[in-house]
Symmetry: C2
Subunit: 190 residues, 2 copies
Amino acid sequence: MKKSLGAATLIVPTPTWVVGTYDQDGKANVMTAAWGGICCSDPPCVAVALRAATYSHGNILARKAFTISVPSENHVVEADYWGMASGRDKDKFASASLTPEASTLVDAPFVKEFPLVLECELQQAVEVGLHTQFIGRIVDVKADEAVLDSKGKPDLEKIRPILFSPGNRSYYTIGEFLAKGFSVGQKFQE
Amino acid sequence: MKKSLGAATLIVPTPTWVVGTYDQDGKANVMTAAWGGICCSDPPCVAVALRAATYSHGNILARKAFTISVPSENHVVEADYWGMASGRDKDKFASASLTPEASTLVDAPFVKEFPLVLECELQQAVEVGLHTQFIGRIVDVKADEAVLDSKGKPDLEKIRPILFSPGNRSYYTIGEFLAKGFSVGQKFQE
């Protein structure tokens, strides 16, 4: 018999992703978000949900673009900071001593020091409630060569992304290879 | 200088969640999805994206409800199977020897053996492309007592959810506690 915990956003795992935007003056901004996920394979799209009160929210609506930079666990302190401060009154890149790099494909910057980046054009803004969900069409994925596997794909174990657990609002590392997908489950197929 | 990988759904981490629905005959069905995430805090909502070709897609539209059951790593084989077989021609619960439990709050079943469950009413169906994104209002979260922390919240380290990495289409375990959120980043605040 399971225990009822009420209506709450208590699911695991959620990601720790950094949303990059430009403000009206062209200042690069970043904010950290755990409310997001892939939402379509074709065209490839990713969704990230932000409160209207955030500085990034207005930036995305104005520029129709954003990036997602995936931090490694060694940048957890910077990522956490970017989830607390606002770009309205801070240069969040400068405060954290990290570097904005301009996307050549969309009107948004990404985090040069982070190993994996998605460049997105705004496809839809969906009002859900307190949060607006921004659906971005992924125009390109860019990665440091050092985090690619032998087939040229991003390797989770080299990226070492950060998990967020809403229950205790804490960050966790990724673990180890468990199983090959679309493979181990074959044992139940007749 | 980062390497361009093209327009693709190559981001990490993505979750391994199981979507529970009833079909028109009241048969319980499940499918595994990695394309999802929380999309609003108030009202609490979660999004999961399914292809129109899936059996679950029609079930959600007809019943206006779904659940998300979070498998532990010890059920990775069952979860993988549920991402391959279709409920159109299989009883996926019976094939995997797991148990559907009826939600008393929404018109959908969840997986009794999985430690964490979200019961959702369909709020919006967003057409994105190949995938439809179903936004569910979380009516209740239910968890096994054994996976709760001392404050009664779901504990990531006890649930041991499964990560999916789209690059090599493989599953990974979660790792260890890294840092307290809304805390470690204070060092960059003035």
